[in-house]
């Protein structure tokens, strides 16, 4: 073969391979890696063409359905890491294989609205003798800061804790409890949540702050639910070398019945193992995010937790300290919290959010 033909043939082969493979290989509907449905072939209409929409949709379709798309995306991640970039898509490539979601800024305007709304809820509940405690949980980027690449600018999440105290709320800070154990496995490496161990330390700190004794670590059975958990921060960067996480269930007795959404559905266990094989394994705790959930325990009093998904893992520890534990997710719950508390004989309220979420959640500002 003549040497001067090498490049033309090589290039034409590259183009033809991409084109033909794209045409031959079947389209995929869903990407597990990205946790979303992939774009399907757009329909050609005169209207969509003239508005330019067809062209855009075709490009997205080609990118989504490109042969071995996941491999290409991983290749980009590897190239980016090799070029020395310490983060990708808002996720830091931290030490020891941690993929940590960054929070360089916090929404201060929303925070003050949320604090004000929560303060007035706290006052209203106080009139009925119900005590409200706020537990703002720092995320991995705050507690595991030593693992972050040098110089990574992060917002000071501690300011939110002091702002909450200044707003007159009763605050339970678990920051130092988590910091004390920061070399343990208290956050997932590939997900933005805390592990059951991290949540246990927060539970213990919360009980002690209230002058009660937490159930010591030895009394808990620790069951591994999965060892192949790839979470949200992994999905964002698509790191081909990341190690999977382990999800643990902690319990003292296996059967802990729970009812969801005003009794619409019931279950024997707070763990929904069907989630372990989906794109959202963390949903194993309390059936992912439900508007409300009620679990019966062996203790006294009735606890209401207003929460984000951090509390799903936390709640497995406090169930047996109360007669009933109610979980309410304000993103889905419509109604008055104080009315709910009165109706269900709630004796204590805990507001549990991770700090960036607490600053951003606009539903909190409307809590009543």
């Amino acid at each position: 073969m003549k040497k001067k033909l090498v490049l033309p043939i090589l290039f034409c082969l590259l183009l033809a391979a991409g084109t033909l493979l794209g045409l031959i290989l079947p389209d995929r509907r869903w990407s597990d890696h990205e946790r979303r449905s992939l774009k399907q072939a757009p329909a050609f209409t005169g209207k969509s063409f003239f508005s330019g929409k067809y062209g855009q949709e075709l490009e997205t379709y080609l990118a989504d359905q490109f042969p071995r798309r996941d491999g290409w995306v991983s290749a980009k991640t590897v190239a980016e890491r090799m070029s020395g970039k310490p983060e990708s898509g808002g996720v830091s490539f931290a030490a020891d294989g941690w993929l940590i979601e960054r929070h360089p800024t916090l929404d201060e305007a929303q925070l003050s609205k949320n604090l004000a709304a929560l303060k007035s809820l706290s006052d209203r509940l106080g009139e009925n003798g119900i005590h409200l405690t706020l537990m703002p949980v720092p995320t991995a980027s705050c507690i595991l800061w030593e693992k972050l690449p040098a110089l990574t600018p992060e917002a000071d999440q501690g300011l939110v804790i002091s702002a909450a105290e200044e707003a007159g709320l009763s605050v339970c800070s678990v920051a130092s409890a988590l910091e004390d154990h920061r070399w343990e496995y208290i956050y997932y490496r590939t997900d933005h949540h805390w592990t059951s161990l991290g949540a246990y330390y927060a539970y213990a700190a919360w009980r002690e702050a209230a002058g009660k004794t937490p159930a010591p670590m030895e009394v808990w059975a620790r069951e591994t639910l999965t060892e192949r958990f790839y979470g949200t921060t992994w999905a964002k960067v698509n790191d081909p070398f990341a190690l999977p996480d382990t999800i643990e269930a902690w319990y003292q007795r296996e059967s802990r019945p729970v009812s969801y959404n005003g009794g619409n559905s019931e279950a024997d266990s707070i763990y929904e193992c069907k989630f372990l094989d989906t794109a959202d394994p963390y949903g194993v705790f309390f059936n992912s995010n439900q508007a409300d959930a009620v679990a019966r325990g062996a203790g006294e009093g009735r606890l209401l937790i207003l929460k984000d998904s951090y509390a799903n893992c936390f709640a497995q520890f406090c169930l047996d300290d109360y007669e009933e534990t109610h979980l309410i997710d304000l993103r889905f719950f419509r109604g008055s919290v104080s009315a709910y508390a009165a109706q269900h004989g709630i004796t204590e309220v805990l507001v549990l959010y991770n700090i960036p979420n607490f600053c951003e959640d606009s539903m909190l500002a409307h809590v009543r």
């Binding site: 062209g55 290409w72 995306v73 110089l151 600018p153």
Partner: protein
């Protein structure tokens, strides 16, 4: 459609190459014309009519000019062409700018047109005007085949972002061109290099600039601002020159030879030299069709200074319908005049200082260029000279460490270093080694660019505005 898209690489380009080379040479101009119309209509289905109008207009003007040559109507075709093209350009590009300026000067509130700018209008109107002017001057013959002329005007490789191909440069190639494997192979190398410059360097360093430019100047440190404007300088260079490389490479694959558009501008020793190396096809267009017809430097210093002023006002305006571009043009006009009067002589004695001064001047120029809003540009300038949140900030250091490798790659890519190494390799005469290097370069750059295109949603194209 842009070259750095999957639609182009895996649908459009294979289709063009296949049809183009399957059909006999005499059909190829028609193939080019039709595919170019599809290429243009992809992004601008309606405005393709404007380009067709411009094609027909100048086709007729060329014939008219030739018909009336030597008579008292010899200027008729030329005048119609200039009015037609400049009218089109002014209407779509400058009407709102003039209305806006008029409104703010006189406190009126005349409604604006709000029309989107037709893609590439600044490029193809300049090309078609060059045709009629060349015919008028007798430097080119009028094209009788409207399909060949249409192929010239709409030629998709350089339609959207240049280089501005002058008719007389491609007149012969339009009627008869050579198709050799060597030229095709050169085209492949050139295209893939351009793709890499655009997708790997420009897009990624552009992320740094967009972070910096979106930061409130009050929170920006001096170091951060300098890093930011350097990133912008790299972004615009690799974006634009990458696009020119892709155009030249595609041209070669189709049998055309276009002129070069960039020649390592950032190694220039003076601003005068910079403009001989940056967007060369625009500079020579203004030189040949504005500066020299006005008398150039042959009518004494005052006339020459006036001519420089006119050219640079127009150059500024060509880049965008906004006051910052006017100011940017004036800025360069002034620098060139100063260099012409005395500075060039001084610089010659100290070339190193000349380079530093040039980079400094060009970076300051990019500040004017980058901010449509003059106020924002001024506050950014203030930060550059110490009026921000301190000299160094943690954010600036973090950005510097994040982009250190990319910045170094960009700096190396702005010099002819790699080109010289490659030429040294070729001069050894080891053909197998050269071929291996070529093939590796094509596969690596193409593969990496593909990885970024498939996974990246960030793919803005800067030169659409012009």
């Amino acid at each position: 459609m842009v070259f750095s898209s999957l639609t182009f690489l895996f649908l459009f380009l294979p289709a063009v190459l296949l049809v183009y080379y399957v059909l006999p040479p005499r059909a190829r101009n028609t193939v080019l014309f039709l595919f170019s119309l599809i290429f243009y209509a992809w992004g601008e289905p309606i405005y393709v009519v404007l380009m067709l109008w411009s094609t027909v207009l100048d086709y007729c003007c060329g014939l008219l000019t030739e018909k009336y040559r030597g008579t008292n109507k010899k200027k008729l075709g030329l005048i119609i062409s200039l009015i037609g093209n400049l009218g089109l350009l002014c209407f779509f590009k400058y009407t709102d700018f003039f209305l806006g300026s008029f409104n703010s000067l006189f406190g009126t509130s005349i409604g604006k047109l709000g029309l989107p700018l037709p893609i590439g209008i600044s490029f193809y109107t300049f090309q078609t005007m060059s045709y009629t002017i060349d015919v008028y001057r007798g430097e080119a013959k009028a094209q009788r085949n409207i399909l060949s002329f249409g192929a010239y005007v709409s030629l998709f490789p350089q339609l959207i972002a240049g280089p501005i191909v002058r008719y007389r440069d491609v007149a012969e190639q339009l009627d008869c061109r050579d198709y050799t494997a060597d030229r095709f192979g050169d085209g492949v190398k050139r295209f893939v290099t351009g793709l890499g410059k655009k997708v790997l360097l420009a897009n990624n360093i552009g992320l740094l600039w967009s972070t910096v430019s979106q930061t409130d100047p009050a929170r920006l440190s001096t170091l951060g601002a300098w890093v930011g404007i350097i990133a912008f300088a790299f972004q615009i260079y690799f974006d634009f020159s990458g696009y020119s490389d892709m155009a030249i490479g595609l041209g070669k694959m189709l049998g055309f030879e276009f002129r070069e558009n960039f020649d390592y501008p950032y190694i220039s020793g003076s601003v005068t030299e910079f403009w001989r190396r940056w967007h060369m096809s625009l500079g020579s267009w203004f030189r040949d069709y504005v500066y020299i017809p006005l008398g150039g430097n042959r009518k004494g210093l005052p006339v020459q200074l006036r001519n420089i002023a006119v050219v640079w006002l127009l150059t500024g305006l060509w880049h965008g319908a906004s006051w910052n571009f006017v100011l940017w043009g004036v800025y360069y006009g002034l620098l060139l005049v100063i260099e012409k009067l005395f500075l060039l002589r001084w610089i010659k004695k100290a070339p190193a200082i000349g380079r530093i001064y040039t980079l400094f001047a060009v970076l300051l120029g990019w500040v004017l260029f980058a901010f449509d809003d003059l106020g924002a540009g001024l506050s950014f300038l203030r930060v550059l000279f110490g009026g921000g949140a301190g000299f160094v900030s943690q954010t600036a250091l973090y950005q510097l460490r994040s982009y250190a490798v990319l910045l170094v790659l960009c700096a190396v890519g702005s010099t002819p270093l790699l080109k010289r190494l490659y030429e040294r390799l070729r001069s050894t005469g080891k053909e197998g080694l050269v071929l291996t290097a070529d093939a590796l370069r094509v596969v690596t750059l193409f593969g990496l660019s593909l990885a970024y295109l498939i996974s990246g949603s960030y793919n803005p194209f800067l030169y659409f505005r012009f």
